[in-house]
Subunit: 496 residues, 2 copies
């Protein structure tokens, strides 16, 4: 526990500072401040040491530079367990600062209130962020309070602990400070990025009544060689398309709608892959996002041109294919660059960010176990692998049916696995496929043997699934009775 003896306070919004300043003063904590905060605390008849008197340097440039001085930052950043640092504290007469309270200039609020850019820019806090970051870095001795939301908790903690702090409390508050500065700079980044044209401001978000931007550099990912501006929903689908196609090495074509593949096939050529992908679900393909991992040639372009679609992505296009495809001005044609796929996902929700490693692990056939009496044939293993790659990129719960490197149908995004399977079987029939002799992939285990029963009755001959249910043996028994094969991968692929 470290006793607090001095505090630097620099706040834009003075709310709540009266109470804190009085308590600090009452507990003989020396207050350092500057500008408006200093005047505010002095008006409460509480003594304050000005930053300027410590640094012997005035506030300059209309207040743009006030606290950025080695005496202040040295007083925050010195390590109290380093003898060299302690010697320098003496040598340069640096103040020891144990507590830093900052309320940043309200950048985000100002952006909402005015379009006057010089007013907005003055609200980009430089000194305040530097104070927060320095004191957070040195949490081993300094406590940082970075938000008015924490004042009450901070005061109760102080009162309870007699104005001493323990390291874990200081570290938690350091984390909060970096959370604040990260969000703050993200807001500035958005404003500067949109107003400079660095970031595309999308026409709207998922729906016309939602505003949206993309904060990134799409030129790294692809060259847009034709078509209208990309929409929010296009970007979601393009992301799904690129991640899906990255699973396949041989010539493959996929059609994406609402972030799921509605058609996908691997075949000798782009043309034949496209034709087979379209067969999976020619109805959903309407207005879809198309992607292939090989060069688009004239023949493929002629065939693809018959479909109404939104986006076509490929690593290469020959000149003749482009002549054909560019006939429609709005149609978006993207030449994919070599780039590194994202490794992390992050979603803003519940007042925070939910972050995870993306599901980039390769689900290798050599790690699979055949658990049934009937073994899958070599051709079936190829199809099982193909199906498993698709189910990995389909929204959960998902079931994928494959025959000869062609997805014959899928059931996706369902609250029940049985429904996903039933939809897949029904859909295969709708578009003229025979389920007989197909293979099935499931993104997660079967809690009951019902899915295996339904699948084998429909004619599925082989199944791939992660396994791991306490009732796996019931599914295995059902396979054995039906004389179909099943492999267990040990790797679940939920995806939402």
């Amino acid at each position: 526990m470290k006793k607090i003896q001095s505090a630097l306070i620099s706040v834009f919004d003075k709310t709540g500072i009266d109470k804190i300043a009085r308590k600090l003063h009452k507990n003989n904590i020396h207050i350092i401040s500057t500008g408006g905060t200093q005047k505010h605390i002095e008006s409460l008849n509480i003594p304050v040491t000005s930053v300027e008197s410590l640094t012997d340097y005035p506030s300059i440039l209309g207040g743009r530079v006030k606290t950025l001085h080695p005496k202040i930052f040295g007083g925050i950043l010195f390590r109290d367990d380093h003898s060299e640092d302690l010697e320098e504290i003496k040598k340069y007469n640096l103040p020891k600062i144990d507590l830093v309270i900052v309320d940043l200039y309200p950048f985000g609020e100002t952006v909402k209130l005015t379009e006057d850019e010089s007013e907005i820019i003055e609200k980009v806090d430089i000194g305040g962020v530097s104070l927060l970051r320095a004191s957070a870095k040195n949490y081993s001795k300094t406590l940082v309070v970075s938000s008015r939301n924490n004042y009450n908790e901070f005061i109760s903690y102080m009162e309870k602990n007699n104005y001493c702090t323990d390291i874990n409390f200081r570290k938690k508050y350091a984390s909060k400070a970096f959370g604040i500065t990260s969000e703050y700079d993200s807001q500035i980044d958005s404003f500067f990025g949109v107003s400079s044209g660095e970031y595309p401001q999308l026409r709207y978000g998922e729906n016309p009544h939602q505003k949206a931007i993309f904060k990134g550099d799409l030129d790294k990912i692809f060259d847009k060689i034709n078509g209208k501006d990309l929409s929010y929903n296009n970007l979601l689908d393009i992301n799904s398309a690129i991640r899906l196609i990255s699973e396949f090495k041989s010539t493959t074509f996929a059609i994406i709608k609402h972030n799921n593949a509605c058609g996908i096939a691997s075949c000798d050529t782009v043309l034949s892959s496209y034709k087979k992908a379209l067969m999976s679900d020619p109805l959903s393909a309407f207005g879809g996002v198309l992607i292939t991992n090989e060069k688009v040639d004239e023949d493929s372009a002629n065939e693809i041109n018959k479909l109404f679609f939104e986006v076509l992505i490929a690593p290469e296009f020959d000149d003749k294919s482009l002549d054909i495809l560019k006939e429609k001005r709005n149609r978006i044609i993207l030449r994919m660059n070599n780039f590194i796929l994202d490794k992390l996902s992050s979603k803003k929700l519940l007042g925070g960010y939910l972050q995870q490693d993306l599901d980039t692990a390769e689900n290798k056939v050599e790690n699979w176990s055949v658990v049934t009496e009937t073994k899958p044939s070599t051709e079936q293993i190829v199809d099982l692998e193909f199906a498993n790659k698709i189910v990995k990129h389909s929204k959960s719960n998902a079931i994928v049916l494959v025959k000869g490197n062609q997805m014959i149908s899928s059931g996706v995004g369902q609250t029940s696995r049985v429904d996903a399977l039933k939809h897949a079987i029904e859909k295969a029939k709708t578009f003229g496929f025979k389920v007989e002799g197909s293979v099935m992939a499931s993104d997660a285990f079967f809690p009951f043997p019902d899915c295996i029963e339904i699948a084998s009755n429909a004619g599925v001959h082989s199944v791939v699934q992660p396994g791991g249910s306490i009732k796996d043996n019931l599914s295995i028994d059902t396979c054995n009775k039906a004389k179909i094969s099943m492999v267990i991968t040990g790797m679940r692929h939920f995806y939402h």
Copy 2:
């Protein structure tokens, strides 16, 4: 265009600096530097002015404080169109700094390489971030280069423009700098947050082979009063549950699986609402996330207790209900607090962030237009509104069927709207509901009249949809022929 005359360079990784320093020197640009960068440039026989000689202040605390001095920050931050600032430049003999090149200490990389916390903390860059942010703020005169990835583009630009910069180029680079600092502080936030216990490190992500954390404060959202740790997938479902339930003012109960409602109903009591919600799809409800907007009492608890579920969320629980519900130790019971729902969504993808306002707009009945000869009854309007609120929070494409404030079924997450509708009809029958007399909501318009035909054949009596298709009139004609009513809201609700 502003001519560059002086540059401050401070880089951790010296790669690429040789070329830049030589070109700057050749173009008579005065170089200011400190520490390792200074030595590196001097070793190229290029003259460098040290930061220390400008500030008359030494580098202190083992290099923790080097550039944080008003002379340096004044030289970056002065406004070259403000006469007062220009006078202060003279008065305090501040150097004019036009270009700032910084490569930050590699925090993220260090975290991957070592677990030695003091080594990690030394890699929290304070001075570098302050330099980047100050020069980015003052993009009206200063150019900031914040990443080695931009060196090539920066050099070509300089060569082409004779070492002059225009304001939009400077602003784009300012945006890049804030993007860098925001990401940098987000990484520090993650590290400090997890290691201090401020942020829960989840057991795993969507799947066991993915690592995950939640960066936020769940205590603001709810109090956990029973059960195991929340999982990644729990948090996704809890988010969906809370957003959905926030639409309803009267007593309502919803059951969520894979981010979609598999059951929901509004009725007199929590008990009756729960029973009706469960009826929608008792199969999917297994292992689901349950939510209500009223106090859970003993009767409801007894009934809910019969179901195997993962999470139950409510604003209040009476003591007897808790005695019952807490019997199972793993079961998660959350008491929801009053909090402000997120207004923005942000998803990391395609090397950037896709951000939008969330779909929080109220789709008000008074703004709806009845477009058919048959008008919906008062009861039907109530059901249409209920259905439309559910479809807004269901994954697209989505169709919801409702009768008497009870969802009788839905089709969600489909690549085709026809499939979503077919699934909804089929599912209603599976669980013993009659579609006859129900109402239907669609999250987006009908491009063709096929859905209306299928729905009216199944017995749907009234339809709500956003409208906006060029073929709306075909759907309206089909309604009129079938003597069913349709309202158009003008507000689409895609949700992925």
